[in-house]
Symmetry: D2
């Protein structure tokens, strides 16, 4: 069975996912596209023989749409996801699930009311081969009980529109999700430390930032977020347990020995670093839907948790204090192994 | 346009390629399958909704078959490839193109007579990300004119049916092809050195072997072929040029520090090491055919050359001498950039 | 000129330094030894043909002693160092310079009053080849202005006598000194975070600890101190600057590929990791004295600063708060380049 | 007991060893120096308070000389070593022991006639930490029975006086010695393959060369000698055994991530790469003599073997053929463990 996907939002990411669903993923086709910019929607739709819908509501209602992909502007996510749930259609929502915890909760409640998982949130790191191997090692107890995680998330540069709160909401949110999943644990507090800022940034931006998280089990996470590091897109993750440590591998790159040194290139953007993870993420999503199952990736609850925790990090940045994460109790609906 | 592929040979490799064409590659479908074992052909065909043809001749003639994939027993390759050329259908032939240089030449001549490239040979290393980066570095002159290449091809073990000549014909043939391509150069002689054999092999097998090749430009290649190395599937390639060297990267694997050491896993088989290369190889083949182009991968001529060179290596093994490679002049039809 | 050294304290470290001064370092001889345990002093002294002095005071006064090495129990350091200054003799004091900031200050004042540097404190990391290369890279601006430093100090295990405050006073004190030197900067605050403790420790010990330091220039340092990590003695230091990062090299160790992995051994103790640094440290000290110069290594002021900062870290551990470092103004006597 | 060393040959290497014996090694002093250039001898001698002897014969005869170090021009080695044996004095001779196999044999015979080992040859790699660890791993059977060794010896450039035969006699001779020792095996044949020469060399020089050696046990060694590789001084050694492989570590060097790559410096000369090995080599020699023992390092026999084998390599280069090594039977005097 081919899963017919309707895409809400035809910007850069949306177009890349249309390409992915059309040219890479098996078992999917894009049957409808919509965008605030109707002309853009029409162009993107035409290229893959899809219908250009007037808006999200029309798209979700189309009988030719089995599943919905939301890649529109963040503040519109909640509305589309809720509409998809109301229509009983599976919906893949790029992060964030919603821009406020309240909206995330409304989605969680709607999904529980529906009685079946429909929502998957686009945290692609869970599909990266290195992180998956890291989880296997942790789950197998090869380094004992985890105690600490040291992470870094570095981008070469960011555009002027990037502001200080985005370090948590847009950047660290990936680590927040993947660490909750790696550790099978919940983050309960956040603190943000602000080193001397790099001179190589727009004046309004606080960069770098060091985020400190604590989990319910007492694991301590330190995460360097440095979005103007100049030299590349560099993701580091080292987990220290009672009997050993495991470190995410560097991407495989040629070693060239010349001049007076050995030189190994560093990836320059997230597409180079996580392109394969996106492919796996969408293939698994489509495979699950095609088999009639509920999505197994990051859930509404994970989207809610990531928003609450990144909100806490923003508050920690503003206040300079340790901020507790105030999260609802996890509904049984989302308990590990529940679905 | 979907390329409809007929598959001749439904053994392990054939089945894996059927899966690949069906579940991974875009733009292809398997419409016919044949095998000496008719029952096996029927089972494999049924699973993907394809026709189980009685034999290669019938399969090649089917109007539902746009392109042919030959994965049958080596000695039957030539017959099927020639039949495909006679039918004017593109044909992808797993190595070897044919088991004798004479048969390879017949294919070359048939293809030239046809006037258009139809044949691609399954040397997948040209599609591996590491080898491609190595070729980019060489072509860009980053290490100067190449002078030497040091290679190793190691398998953990081989079955009892593997015999000494297969070290050249089945194993080294991959390096032979990829080095001709990497260096844009031709191999002109072969020598084989036989170290003390490992005790961990079947008695009839000479293992390891060290093969020495010389190219027309004077590049010297040493290749360790060791098919019972016990510890893993390990492919090494280091190219030394006038101003530097470049080394194929190790696969990206987690570093785990525990006990008293840091430990990084080694791949255990070719699927783990080259699975992604196979996917790219077939996707590019299908994309080229779908666009109406001639195949751009390893040609009949490359298949002929690999056979002649591996034959020389076998003779070198038997004689203990340096054996010159006696190859026809490369037809203009196959000149670099000709097609 | 041979420098005649008197050694106060003939325990394990003292004996190792006697061996080093006698068998490794050039231009030194050990002419006197003393220890609380007179018999031990006699044995150690006899082995190298030195005089067994009754106590530190006698030893310092001997005309056969040109320079004093203090390796006795920490609480006795101040007394011996002050006595050496009073006698106008150069004195090398193993860390700590003194167990209280007050005593350190008394030494600083005595030295200033004497008018010439006599004291060097035993922080050996400044003599490690890797740290020296790191300092060269930082000073050359190869990674731009430093912004953050990520460190780890891991021991396989510690004895039962090791208590929670020693994580700062005995272990982190090495990073405190070497980072002040690497960055040419001063530490101004400390915070300690306590992850879930490892089960593999004595009950009374808080292990691991994460120490956070801020420097006057705003550099942020995170330091994992984990003294029961089980797998080895592992020192990590990564400095992140505005345009790049530099990481302390792993010790050179053989890579062995067997089983199904590549394995590289991790050092098991500080002697294996820093043995060469100790040799260089003492050779440079002796060379300077032999040439009639003032010691150039870590000064009384550095010893004072390390004590004040580790005291702040201990207070931070106890209070759970960020603790400002209250340090006297650096006397001109100890200004960089002053001496 | 201090060993009083007389140094024959006060050129660059000789001066470096005088410094080493005086400033680094313990238990030695240089009491006499001689050189063809009497003025140079006088200067070097005066600097360390030694006697400037008129010639080797006078120097060897001095009662103030306990042991002789020969670092003069190669063709004079045999004469001085034989004179030292005649005087019953231990003699350390830089490689080569003698420039002809005949002269080496005369030394071997003289030493056997004397009845006690007096001679040590300056092959310093046996004292390098990496090679020693490699030998430990081999001897412990961690990679099973050795089957192959892949080596490379690269220099950035060589002076115009370096000619093609020196690739074997001066450069490969180090690998010849260290491999005989690593494998506890004898080399029985040599072959030399000549890749296309680099353009970055003096016209008269054949560079690079690939040398192939076979041992009595059937181990096959391939050694790339490339003395104008431009980028650095690079020594590689990988030993492949029946169950695994072990590779000499790269020197520990800082990793700097900047620009768009991670960069690790390569050593630029042998002093940077093997300086520590020289120190250990001389310290162990002096320690053995001081204890009244026979030298335990490379023997006269090893010097003879290295000369015979490098002669075979030169003949192989000239003839293009496999050349058998014709060596006398190893005298019981030099049997492993004999002394």
């Amino acid at each position: 069975m081919t899963v017919r996907v309707g895409v809400i939002g035809a910007g850069m990411i949306g177009q890349d996912h249309v390409r992915r669903l059309t040219e890479v993923v098996h078992g999917a086709e894009v049957t409808a596209v919509t965008d605030l910019d109707a002309e853009r929607a029409a162009t993107v739709a035409a290229a893959v023989g899809a219908w250009a819908a007037a808006d999200g509501a029309e798209l979700i209602g189309l009988s030719e749409v089995d599943a919905v992909l939301v890649t529109s502007w963040g503040p519109t996510h909640a509305e589309h996801v809720l509409a998809a749930i109301a229509a009983g259609k599976p919906v893949f929502c790029e992060k964030p699930l919603a821009t406020t915890a309240e909206d995330c909760l409304r989605i969680v409640e709607a999904e529980i009311a529906y009685g079946r998982r429909l929502v998957q949130v686009g945290f692609m790191r869970r599909y990266d081969a290195g992180y998956r191997e890291l989880k296997r090692v942790l789950d197998a107890g090869e380094i004992g009980t985890p105690l600490m995680v040291h992470c870094a998330h570095r981008n070469p540069t960011v555009p002027e529109s990037y502001h200080s709160e985005m370090a948590a909401q847009d950047t660290a949110v990936h680590e927040i999700d993947v660490l909750r999943w790696l550790l099978s644990d919940e983050i309960v507090s956040a603190q943000v430390i602000t080193p001397r800022p790099t001179a190589k940034r727009f004046e309004h931006l606080r960069d770098p930032q060091i985020m400190l998280f604590e989990t319910a089990a007492g694991v301590r996470i330190d995460l360097e977020v440095f979005v103007n590091c100049q030299y590349g897109y560099d993701i580091q993750c080292e987990t220290v347990g009672e009997t050993g440590l495991a470190r995410l591998p560097e991407p495989a790159r040629l070693a060239v020995r010349s001049g007076d040194a050995t030189r190994v290139a560093v990836p320059q953007d997230w597409k180079e670093r996580f392109g394969a993870a996106f492919d796996v993420e969408f293939q698994e999503w489509i495979d699950t839907l095609a088999a009639g199952g509920e999505p197994t990736g990051p859930s509404s609850w994970d989207g809610y948790a990531a928003t609450v925790i990144s909100d806490a990090a923003v508050e920690a940045l503003k206040s300079g204090r340790v901020v507790g994460v105030t999260m609802k109790d996890r509904p049984a609906f989302y308990a590990e192994g529940a679905r």
